[in-house]
Symmetry: C2
Subunit: 383 residues, 2 copies
């Protein structure tokens, strides 16, 4: 990986002379006047490797770190914060995000309230790059929320008392490690289990040997036979599972529609549902969708997807990648209108630089602070 210095880019104005690395990203709010207070939006970003508490195993991969980019967006001395989390299997990287963010000319925008224009521009610059786009969207929402003096759940008119419990993810692992993870999950009311391997029943039995909490199941496209999938879902229902996420490959549309029609548990599309146009396609194929900011380019499109899904009478789960409290707090703003939340990404890393939304007795708990409600754990990260 290249050095931080090489990755540091300032879009809109040149970097502050004599400053490098992480301090530069957050210098804006300390220096309310001076070189950075030009016209237009000023974007800064820096790579940040997330350290995972446990090796993370999905159906087809495992890893100990997640590449991430932290960004800031400044306007007239007010700064919003954003983040791109990029699990490798999704195709983005620190290199691709840096290239994307460097290509943006946000200094052309003199009014951060014109989120529609700004985010349409960001989306139009290159295809893909959804996590990098989400980082700008989150920072812009944080900035505009601060300019309005309100958190986004209030701007959207949601009741913070309506937030759901968040599930806590138990990755695929040996029985001993699984039992240890379940023991660590004491504060959480709902567990999410990653399935899609030959050890599926063993995983469930291992968890059921130490916990009777409701379980959500995420198969990550791991099952390929619809009848086998239906049999598993019937078995899972008896084991106290609440819903089944992405049981089959995203290309198995007809099989999936059949499975949803026959399933005794709700089905949720995740890999099948990335952006707004995918919501309509998911109607009749799944009972619900998993919205993740890193898939859908951020809070604005996520809010539109939520509106669309509700008007289609579909369930909504708000999910995440492994990410810091920045993106988790952004996603949590939507959670009062979602049936389910899977917002444990910040709890799975050991080097979260931020504090934001909290989990209190298993429930997503919003903070009445402007923007996405973020504060920093260390003065180095002061906002």
């Amino acid at each position: 990986m290249n050095s931080r210095r090489n990755f540091l880019r300032t879009t809109g104005l040149t970097a502050l002379a004599g400053m490098t690395g992480i301090e530069t990203l957050f210098a804006a709010s300390k220096k309310k006047s001076g070189k950075t207070s030009g016209k237009g939006l000023i974007l800064r970003f820096i790579p940040y490797e997330l350290q995972l508490r446990h090796t993370f195993t999905l159906a087809n991969s495992s890893r100990k770190t997640t590449p991430d980019v932290l960004i800031s967006l400044e306007f007239e001395g007010v700064t919003g914060y954003g983040e791109a989390s990029m699990p490798p299997y999704l195709g983005e990287s620190i290199e691709s995000a840096s290239k994307f963010l460097s290509s943006l000319n946000l200094s052309q925008f003199n009014d951060p309230f014109q989120m529609d224009d700004i985010l349409q521009y960001v989306d139009s610059v290159m295809p893909g790059n959804c996590a990098a786009k989400a980082s700008v969207d989150i920072a812009l929402h944080d900035l505009v929320g601060k300019l309005m003096g309100q958190p986004w759940y209030k701007i959207w008119g949601f009741n913070p008392a309506d937030t759901p419990n968040t599930s806590f993810t138990i990755g695929i692992d040996t029985p001993d490690v699984v039992r240890q993870k379940v023991a660590e999950a004491v504060p959480y009311q709902v567990l999410k289990v990653k399935l899609g391997q030959k050890t599926d029943r063993e995983m469930i039995e291992t968890i059921r040997s130490v916990s009777d909490k409701p379980l959500c199941v995420d198969v990550n496209q791991g099952w390929t036979d619809k009848q086998m999938a239906l049999d598993m879902i019937h078995w899972l229902k008896e084991k106290g599972v609440v819903f089944v996420e992405q049981p089959m490959p995203k290309t198995s549309i007809d099989e999936m529609a059949w499975l949803t029609e026959h399933s005794p548990l709700p089905t949720i599309g995740d890999e099948s549902v990335q952006r707004l146009p995918d919501v309509m396609k998911a109607k009749g194929v799944y009972n619900g969708i998993n919205i993740k900011l890193m898939k859908c380019t951020g809070m604005r499109e996520a809010h539109q997807m939520l509106t669309l899904a509700k008007s289609l009478d579909m369930k909504v789960m708000i999910g995440c990648m492994t990410e810091t409290s920045c993106a988790i707090s952004a996603a949590a703003q939507l959670s009062p209108k979602c049936e389910w939340a899977d917002l444990d990404g910040n709890l799975l890393i050991s080097n979260d630089p931020y504090q934001g939304v909290q989990v209190v007795k298993g429930k997503v708990t919003l903070i009445d602070q402007p923007g996405i409600g973020l504060s920093a754990l260390d003065t180095k990260w002061k906002i």
Copy 2:
């Protein structure tokens, strides 16, 4: 019609002693402390008969006034304003609106930001009453926008430069009056023509004898034969018509889908599309929808309908009834994302108590003032 005194109702607290009529409605902002500053939202309302500049003729009715109710919603000394306009053919009246508004208990809500809960409650109290519900929604948006210090087009992230021209409505009348109306419409770039009578071609020819401006056509369900309708649309296209609104009865769904498929001009559903669930039903039947706050219970559902229509790749027209600058300014907040605007309702009345959104060279022109951007023409109406 009953006297104002009889209609004056105060929901949440009793009316101010010694005050009656219109002054009471607006007393809140003058008296920032005192009897009205209790906990919870305080609703006041009063009837207001709109005087039309011209007798208004549709396919099946004509009238010189429109019944209307003006409302205010106060929270801790900040007041938002709303309005219910109730053309008689839509089934609401000052009596029904008064009954509905009197039945509300808004003092139970201590946080105006919880718009989702408040407006779901308002919608749940009785079925129908869409204009009365819209009056509360508009006043709540005005109030919350003021609490955030921003107009709603900014809160929604829209660019005020994107507002469309508004059409100016030419009602069904004699050729002389039609020519007079067209002459009065000099400031407007687009004319809207009410059709659906035997004189349709004569109306168009009369206007074309004095103006070559683009025309929109609103048939108000007036055509019953699909082939006749298609022939008319071909003829209208040659006459410079831009789109055709509600050409056939709202119950003629198959015929309308056929007409849309064959029509050389876009078709717009109006009477067919009242609330959010109707948008999905209109897909494939019309090319676009006409959103009116008085049909859809207000700005929150209108914004959801706009989001849904855009995700369905449908055109959107933002329309109105005859109404004051209050409801027009509320609707105008959505207009930057709409292809067409028909926001001339305040221009068709002679006793508008408010000033808000303006039409400048035919274009809807938003004001950077909090809430719906309203001010009063007279100190009696001071906000």
